[in-house]
């Protein structure tokens, strides 16, 4: 009956605190949770990216409006200057709302007038009759009705960007120019408005470039990934605009979704695994119980079979024991009658025959008595017995032969036993001891508390038991004496075992033999 398969699986199982199936369930469900988290997370990220692209495009549209305003203002400025014949007052009128913005300068330039073409100017960067910075001069060559812008360049201490428009309606060569200071190192404010959840950076180039940064809501700090970009196109101007989300655009709860999925999945994994573990342990426990019950059942069955066999043998022995008694009785009676009948005519030879017949019939009678006692098992009725009073009874029924001294224990040594059965045990042991010392000696019966019970010892000063007998002395029909039945010690062992006790025989170091029996204390102290 194998409960667990031998070999590697059980070794592995012994090392793991959890059942294999539990680990499998845990790994599978946790893996599914992680997969679900990944899928949902990807979906959320895609959604977020789409929203970011959309919002960035919207921001570009807003910026485009602002740049178109610049385009319209410059067109109006150039047209007004041309139509008014470069009237300073008209220019000042038109330029006033533009240069009101800090760091912004405007001018009307005659692109065909040589190195100092500024005709009219307003703002900090440009003065009439002064030379223009090289990037602005380069810009003039490309100026047309549509807005044109320069890259970001340094003009003195300031970083600036320039715009130019050559209005169609004006006279040839007239270009309206705007130069605006930029401060990319200052974080552009974006705390309110519909796109306040975005960080935005605008470059005066088609690709992001640090030198062309016009403005950024994060200042010099780079935008956090992920980003989306869109191109701001007005006239010939193409600026790259990059957006990044400050908060999840899909919303906090949607962004938390994947983590909720993961957490629920892992909790589910833990719950399922613990349920499986409980079931597995219960099942193992049940298997163990079933196995133990089966084993107990098998043992009980074996015991019953053995008991039945013993009982059959026992009944046979009992019947033989009883049936022998009548013929034995008749034989004993006849021997007696023969002795009476012969009387004085009994010669030595006849006497020796009669004596042998009488001895052997007596031995047969004793054997039948012992056989009956051995087979007549009954459960012990345990009471507290004083060992001394028991020894006194033993000596009454089995008086010590001449030359043998008996040392009995002091009163007060208590043994829990069936009194009749323990008496039988002591009679057998003490009479064995007597017979072991035909030339006299000492028998000492002792008792002491030991290991939750009482040890009773019977010592003799005889020649000792031959080593080849050893523990076999307690087996039935093993004897060293010609006249013994071989059942005395077997009866002792049987009775002691019925008490749940043990019995052993050992040579004493100072000579002789000690038989020690131990009987458990079964009655509680207060009952005594």
């Amino acid at each position: 009956m194998v409960i667990e398969a031998p070999g590697r699986p059980s070794e592995l199982r012994a090392r793991l605190p959890l059942a294999m199936v539990t680990v499998a369930v845990l790994v599978a469900v946790a893996g599914l949770s992680v997969a679900a988290w990944w899928v949902v997370q990807r979906g959320v990220q895609r959604q977020d990216a789409a929203l970011l692209r959309n919002d960035t495009s919207q921001v570009v549209l807003l910026l485009q409006e602002a740049v178109q305003t610049v385009s319209a203002e410059l067109t109006a400025l150039g047209t007004a200057a041309a139509e008014s014949g470069d009237s300073a007052s008209v220019f000042a009128q038109e330029a006033k709302p533009i240069v009101r913005q800090p760091g912004v300068s405007v001018a009307v330039v005659d692109s065909r007038a040589g190195p100092a073409p500024v005709v009219l100017a307003a703002g900090p960067e440009l003065q009439p009759g002064s030379p223009l910075p090289a990037p602005v001069v380069a810009l003039l060559g490309h100026a047309g009705p549509a807005l044109t812008a320069s890259p970001v360049f340094t003009d003195g201490a300031a970083r600036v960007v320039a715009f130019a428009v050559a209005p169609v309606a004006s006279r040839p060569g007239v270009v309206a120019v705007e130069v605006a200071q930029v401060h990319p190192d200052r974080a552009a404010p974006n705390a309110t408005g519909p796109y306040s959840q975005l960080d935005v950076a605008v470059y005066a180039s088609r690709r992001p470039s640090a030198s062309q940064l016009l403005l950024s809501t994060t200042g010099v700090r780079p935008l956090p990934a992920p980003t989306a970009s869109a191109t701001l196109s007005v006239g010939n101007l193409h600026w790259d605009t990059v957006g990044a989300a400050r908060v999840p655009l899909v919303g906090g709860s949607a962004a938390a979704g994947p983590w909720v999925v993961l957490a629920v999945g892992l909790l589910l994994a833990a719950a399922l695994a613990s349920t499986v573990e409980v079931l597995v342990r219960r099942q193992r426990h049940t298997t163990r119980i079933v196995a133990r019950r089966e084993r107990e059942l098998l043992e009980a069955q074996t015991a019953v079979v053995r008991q039945e066999r013993l009982s059959a043998v026992g009944q046979m022995a009992t019947i033989i024991g009883h049936e022998l008694r009548n013929p034995l009785g008749a034989a004993i009676n006849s021997l007696y009658l023969a002795r009476m009948a012969l009387g004085d005519r009994l010669d030595d030879e006849a006497e020796s025959h009669l004596v042998r017949a009488e001895r052997e019939t007596a031995r047969a009678a004793a054997l039948s008595e012992d056989l009956t006692a051995y087979m007549r098992e009954r459960p012990p009725t345990v009471v507290s017995v004083d060992l001394r009073s028991l020894v006194d009874d033993v000596l009454d029924s089995t008086p010590p032969p001449e030359g043998i001294t008996v040392e009995a224990p002091e009163p007060g040594t208590i043994v829990d036993a069936d009194r009749d059965q323990l008496l039988q045990v002591l009679i057998n042991l003490v009479s064995n001891a007597f017979e072991a010392m035909p030339d006299g000696g000492t028998v000492r019966v002792g008792g002491r508390a030991l290991d939750g019970g009482t040890e009773v010892t019977v010592d003799d000063t005889g020649p000792g038991v031959p080593p080849e007998i050893g523990e076999r002395a307690f087996e039935p029909f093993v004897t060293t004496r010609a006249t013994g039945t071989g059942l005395g010690l077997a009866i002792v062992k049987q009775l002691v075992q019925n008490h749940g006790g043990t019995v052993s025989m050992a040579p004493r170091p100072e000579g002789g033999t000690r038989v020690a029996l131990w009987l458990p204390a079964t009655r509680r102290q207060e009952e005594r």
Binding site: H322, N326, L328, G329, A330, N333, M340, A365
Partner: protein, 131 residues
């Protein structure tokens, strides 16, 4: 001179019955033998026995039943019960004073003679003080 002591020996085993009778006769008793319980009852009804040596296991009626059926008037014999089996406490209590002595088979002749003598003394004593 006192009348001879009359003893009934009841045992279904012929060897026991005959040798027991012979041993008791040799000791001076007047012995009547019975082979089963019914014979024993008939003999006891017919004569005034001083002692009855009864086997427990007998056909038709066992020794215990014979003791239980004894007529208390006139004074019953002193009873010696013999058995190959042990006498349990219940039987001893049930029969009480009606049995003088219990003997375990095989019975030593000396024990038999002693038990019958004891039973005869008791029975004679009871008869002497009786009505």
């Amino acid at each position: 001179m006192a009348a001879p002591v009359l003893v009934l020996v009841a045992d279904d085993n012929a060897g026991i019955r005959e040798t027991t009778a012979m041993i008791l006769r040799g000791s001076g008793y007047h012995v009547v033998a019975a082979a089963d319980g019914e014979e024993a009852m008939a003999a006891l009804a017919a004569g005034a026995f001083d002692v009855a040596v009864l086997d427990v296991r007998m056909p038709r009626r066992d020794g215990v039943a014979v003791v239980e059926d004894l007529d208390p008037r006139p004074p019953p014999p002193g009873v010696v019960l013999a058995s190959a089996y042990t006498f349990d406490q219940e039987i001893r209590q049930r029969l009480g004073e009606r049995v003088c002595r219990y003997l375990r088979k095989p019975v030593r002749p000396e024990d038999l003679i002693d038990a019958v003598g004891h039973a005869a003394d008791l029975a004679r004593g009871a008869a002497g003080t009786g009505p």
